[in-house]
């Protein structure tokens, strides 16, 4: 069944860097979910929410059930908190930056598509996300030129 395949010596180095970016993107997005609910502890349900809401992470959906017993309950809870969070958007300057983050708006497939397209351009709210791994990569591009 398995044919003998060799790999270039550059692949371990390349995959290591790719994994770092992947871990940090997943972690940071999960952290944003945790903060959205005024929690300072990242939980598996935060990670699961990211996986459900991010198209490129769909290949991970089979991993979620093992770590989520109460996901449906959490989902209902988060919906209420999201409504409250939107009302606070005007008054809280710090969280205002998060409100502009596309993850907060990906409630439907249509929104997700629009936001994904929007991510291709430089959007003003991303200036507040220096810690965002995707933004960090953009900065590295600029620096390398």
């Amino acid at each position: 069944m398995f044919t003998k395949q060799m790999i270039s010596s550059e692949i371990p180095m390349l995959m290591s860097k790719a994994c770092e970016i992947f871990i940090q993107e997943l972690t940071f997005r999960a952290w944003m979910h945790a903060e959205k609910n005024n929690k300072s502890i990242v939980q598996p349900c935060d990670v699961a929410k990211v996986i459900m809401q991010t198209d490129t992470m769909n290949f991970l959906t089979e991993i979620i059930p093992n770590n989520l017993g109460d996901f449906s309950v959490f989902d209902a809870k988060e919906e209420n908190i999201a409504n409250i969070a939107e009302e606070n958007e005007v008054s809280l300057s710090f969280t205002a930056g998060f409100m502009g983050n596309p993850m907060m708006k990906m409630d439907s497939e249509e929104n997700a598509g629009n936001i994904v397209e929007g991510n291709q351009a430089t959007l003003p709210y991303t200036s507040g996300f220096m810690g965002n791994p995707m933004n960090m990569m953009n900065m590295d591009n600029v620096r390398m030129k």
Partner: protein
């Protein structure tokens, strides 16, 4: 190989945790279950990307999977945001190949995984490496951004950038 041991199935969790902490503010905590979840996710990510790269390699009847196959697989699977900076990373890596690279190649033949050249400070090897030649996605470029954010926000800014100079050395074998 008879049976896959758990420690061979996943990336080492201590390394995963260290990478996670680098992106989070100091006051953030990660539950143990979340650590395991992300450990499983990144291990699945490796299989996902490399399986696609291998498939392309076999379709073209080649015996060696190349870095280009991996980058192509990322683009095909929706990780084009990764493929572009990694392509630049790869090119800079190739430019810095020389004596240290041959040393890495020698160690790669001895062990299944390649050891990155150790460095204690980004500027300690100016003749051999361009600035940000390694660890170009670490926190250096965004440090100022973090501080700026802290200044502009009322209450807790929270984000603290920390640079781990040993992030790229002594990785556990795959």
């Amino acid at each position: 190989m008879a049976g896959v041991r758990e420690q061979d199935q996943y990336m080492p969790i201590a390394n995963v945790i260290r990478i996670m902490r680098r992106i989070l503010p100091a006051h953030a905590k990660i539950s143990d279950d979340a650590k395991e979840t992300i450990q499983e996710c990144v291990s699945e990510y490796i299989s996902f990307i490399t399986a696609e790269a291998n498939e392309r390699c076999q379709r073209e009847q080649r015996k060696t999977v190349t870095a280009e196959d991996v980058l192509w697989a990322m683009e095909k699977l929706g990780f084009d945001n990764y493929a572009h900076p990694l392509s630049l990373y790869l090119h800079r890596y190739r430019k810095t190949e020389g004596e240290p690279a041959s040393a890495r190649r020698a160690s790669a033949s001895a062990s299944p995984s390649m050891q990155m050249h150790p460095r204690t400070h980004p500027h300690s090897h100016p003749p051999n490496y361009s600035h940000h030649g390694f660890g170009m996605f670490d926190f250096d470029p965004s440090s100022q951004g973090f501080y700026r954010d802290d200044a502009s926000s009322s209450g807790s800014g929270g984000f603290v950038a920390s640079f781990d100079p040993y992030a790229n050395i002594k990785r556990d074998p795959l």
